[in-house]
């Protein structure tokens, strides 16, 4: 059985879709139906609103999450009331989401449920923590949207599965290119900079970090940044922490003004919005991009069917992606969820 055994080495897992309808839910169902529940206790939730029966954007049908007895799940009050499963309520969180409070329950029978969960990175982190401490789960799974709109980052989990497929692109090259680029970003190294602990607290601005432990605020935000640049950084090696999104503009500005040894540090890969070409140029010039936290990418799942009904050659995608990324790639539909 592909990759299930490897999952047991981690305490948390997020399943992230590169696009809607890339088979994230099938992938989650696949994992949930194969985990050895007699050996481990599993908790599952989702980031924000997810798991609608009908996809809100494309109106195509979305599979629900299928649970077996014994699995602990967290969802919003609204979705808990709509569950089609017999389950025992264990806890109700006080934090309100747009769909009500978060209810944690244990499945008593087999059944289906719509998942919605913590909507910010902080509450997601807290949720993963309480799953372990309060409900003694061994593995906590997050159905993680890689939506640019989601404020909650799936990178707080220890491991990750990436779902990609024909919904992302119908051109083989583009699909493989885009997917392997994201896989590369997920695998960016954790910074060795000594500031790491304090950086977690900073939520605003672009900072220059000095070796003696000082940090200097360069810009309040990327909008305040002057793109012209005066070349003052020439010849200096430096570490820069970007607390928010890393955009082409930020990368270009530092590429232009610093000639050697620059390290850009971002919170995690979800904060990177940099065009592949810009990123490659930056690396070629000797730049380094690092993160504060990362998840171990365990495998990539491919859904060769696009929402419009077109089907790509799944073997070709799997093979090419595996060669390019060095990570195991599976067509989940083939294995059957």
């Amino acid at each position: 059985m592909p990759f299930i055994d490897e999952l047991l080495n981690y305490r948390s897992l997020s399943i992230v879709g590169l696009e809607k309808n890339t088979g994230k839910t099938e992938c989650l169902n696949y994992v949930l139906s194969r985990l050895p529940l007699e050996k481990i206790r599993v908790g599952v939730s989702s980031i924000g609103i997810d798991g609608e029966q009908v996809d809100q954007v494309t109106q195509s049908s979305k599979p629900e999450i299928l649970l077996r007895g014994g699995i602990i799940f967290t969802t919003s009050e609204k979705h808990y009331k709509e569950r089609r499963i017999v389950s025992e309520i264990l806890h109700i969180d006080e934090e309100e989401t747009s769909l009500g409070r978060l209810v944690t329950a244990m499945a008593v029978t087999k059944g289906k449920v719509l998942l919605s969960g913590p909507s910010t990175t902080a509450s997601l982190k807290r949720w993963i923590g309480t799953q372990h401490s309060r409900f003694t789960t061994n593995l906590t799974i997050v159905d993680g949207a890689l939506s640019r709109l989601s404020p909650a980052s799936p990178a707080v989990s220890e491991s990750m599965i990436l779902a990609t497929g024909a919904a992302l692109s119908l051109t083989y090259n583009e699909l493989i290119n885009k997917t392997s680029y994201i896989a590369e970003l997920i695998d960016l190294p954790i910074t060795k900079n000594s500031h790491t602990n304090t950086l977690n607290e900073i939520d605003k601005g672009i900072w220059r970090l000095y070796e003696n432990g000082d940090a200097e605020l360069l810009f309040e935000s990327a909008f305040m940044m002057s793109s012209s640049g005066s070349g003052i950084y020439k010849g200096e090696s430096m570490a820069i922490f970007i607390s928010g999104a890393l955009t082409d503009r930020v990368v270009n500005m530092f590429s232009r003004n610093v000639d050697t040894n620059i390290e850009l540090i971002v919170r995690d890969f979800t904060k990177i919005f940099v065009n592949q070409q810009v990123y490659r140029n930056f690396i070629k010039r000797g730049g380094k991009l690092t993160v504060l936290q990362k998840s171990k990418l365990i495998s990539i799942c491919v859904n060769p069917v696009s929402p419009t009904g077109y089907t790509l050659d799944s073997d070709r995608i799997c093979d090419e992606l595996q060669i390019k990324t060095g990570i195991k790639v599976y067509d989940i539909l083939k294995y059957g969820s």
Binding site: V86, E88, I89, A105, V108, T109, K110, K112
Partner: protein, 453 residues
């Protein structure tokens, strides 16, 4: 509409600091506290302080209770605001699992707390016995906070559920069959719980009140507060301090000088004294103490004797109401006028007015301030007024900040008989490092003015 605790949080006297220093276990308790009305009735206040002082002496004298308080705090951490669910129960609506879970949780908390408080004689907390309801919601007697429609409610449930799990494919029809059965059980549960709805409410509010009382006891110890003596005609503090300012000073390595103050509802109290002499802080702290008194807290003073009032007015004079287009003078006059008319209407009032009419010319300012004091002295009210103006020939009690003494400010208040407001502004300005040329000129001008008199 009575003043509620949440209405006074933004009053600039340090009450928010007090609120945030309270260690409440449940956010529901803090909601209950915020919605609680200010007590005005003397008997009510006496009774409420009796509850607090009984619990406080238990807390300080009984080490077993002290240990139990930490247990209580942990249990009350799970107390949730379930008023909505109780209202739905009251309306005869069939509750869903979430609501039933909440009621079961409350009953469990009630049970755990009862087991602890029954060991002591705590009159202020009367928790109902919810054992009967708990048995309904916990048929297997597991006594753990979780809920679903247990198999033991109906013999038909277990086989149906087993079928649902054993089926290879998910069976919708089977699920709806189970759901139908579950719903009829929920309906029965709600019907049986309905007669106890008032007991649930009683439990909910009493648990919150226990939380509030305990946190007030902890606060007395933490901030070194004292329980007040209740009076009808006098307000008197010995060693009064403002906890927030004390905290800020201590943080900077400075010491807070506590002060004594005493006044009654016959004569207004006029405080004069140097700038930076702590007059405004004194007024704010008197307001703080009064609010803490009428919301039944320990009082930040080593001794406090306080009379309840209907209304408290604090006019610090430095606020502008630019949103309503009022200058600082207009805003101030309006505020003072409101206080004065409330006094003239015969209400019992604590009026704290910081430098009335300070922003206008000295002649008119003095006229406004002294006439205010005169009006107040003719009517019964607890009034404290600070001023730099010379107010003569008015019936009032006068205190003066001791002021500059060997290079340091002595913030304590002393009785004065002479009418002239002390002239220390130049000394203080000099200590602030003001340019000598300006000061020299000012000294000459001052001599001219004093000679003219």
């Amino acid at each position: 509409m009575a003043l509620r605790f949440k209405d006074i949080l933004n009053i600039d006297c340090g009450i928010r600091y007090i609120f945030s220093a309270l260690e409440l276990s449940s956010s529901f308790s803090s909601r209950v506290l915020l919605e609680s009305p200010m007590l005005q009735n003397k008997e009510e206040i006496i009774n409420a302080y009796k509850d607090l002082s009984n619990l406080y002496s238990l807390y300080t004298n009984n080490s077993d209770f002290r240990d139990d308080v930490s247990k209580i705090s942990i249990i009350l951490g799970e107390l949730k605001d379930i008023r909505g669910s109780l209202n739905r129960l009251d309306e005869g609506i069939t509750l869903d699992d979430i609501e039933l879970f909440e009621i079961k949780n409350l009953s469990l908390i009630n049970r755990q707390i009862l087991l602890i408080v029954n060991k002591y004689n705590i009159e202020s907390v009367s928790l109902p016995n919810l054992e009967e309801s708990l048995n309904l919601l916990d048929p297997d007697q597991n006594r753990i906070p979780s809920f679903y429609i247990y198999d033991s409610y109906d013999v038909r449930l277990a086989p149906l559920r087993k079928m649902l799990s054993d089926n290879n494919r998910y069976n919708d029809e089977l699920f709806y069959k189970i759901n139908l059965l579950e719903n009829s059980i929920r309906k029965k549960l709600a019907d049986s719980l309905l007669p106890n709805v008032e007991e649930f409410r009683q439990s909910l509010y009493n648990l919150a009140n226990l939380d509030i009382l305990i946190s007030k006891c902890k606060l007395i110890e933490k901030l070194k507060l004292s329980l007040p003596v209740i009076s009808e005609s006098a307000i008197e503090y010995t060693g009064m301090f403002n906890p927030e300012i004390e905290y800020l000073l201590n943080r900077d390595g400075k010491e807070y000088q506590k002060i004594d103050i005493k006044f009654d509802n016959k004569l207004p109290l006029l405080i004069t004294g140097a700038n930076m002499g702590g007059k405004s802080i004194t007024l704010k702290t008197v307001a703080l103490c009064q609010y803490m008194f009428q919301f039944i807290f320990g009082i930040p003073a080593s001794f406090a004797k306080i009379s309840p009032v209907d209304k408290i007015f604090l006019s610090s004079g430095d606020e502008q109401d630019y949103r309503r287009g009022l200058s600082s003078f207009a805003a101030e006059i309006k505020r003072i006028n409101k206080m004065l008319t409330t006094v003239l209407d015969g209400k019992s009032v604590l009026g704290l007015t910081d430098e009335p009419a300070r922003t206008t010319n000295p002649a008119e300012g003095t006229a406004l301030a002294s006439s205010l004091v005169e009006l107040l002295s003719d009517h019964s009210s607890f009034s404290v007024i600070t001023t730099h103006y010379n107010i003569d020939n008015v019936k009032c009690k006068k205190l003066r900040v001791k002021g500059y003494n060997e290079g340091r400010i002595d913030y304590s208040l002393c009785e004065v008989s002479d009418s002239d407001a002390p002239q220390e502004a130049l000394t203080i300005a000099a200590n602030l490092g003001t340019d000598i040329r300006w000061l020299e000129k000012a000294r000459i001008k001052l001599k001219e003015i004093n000679n003219k008199k």
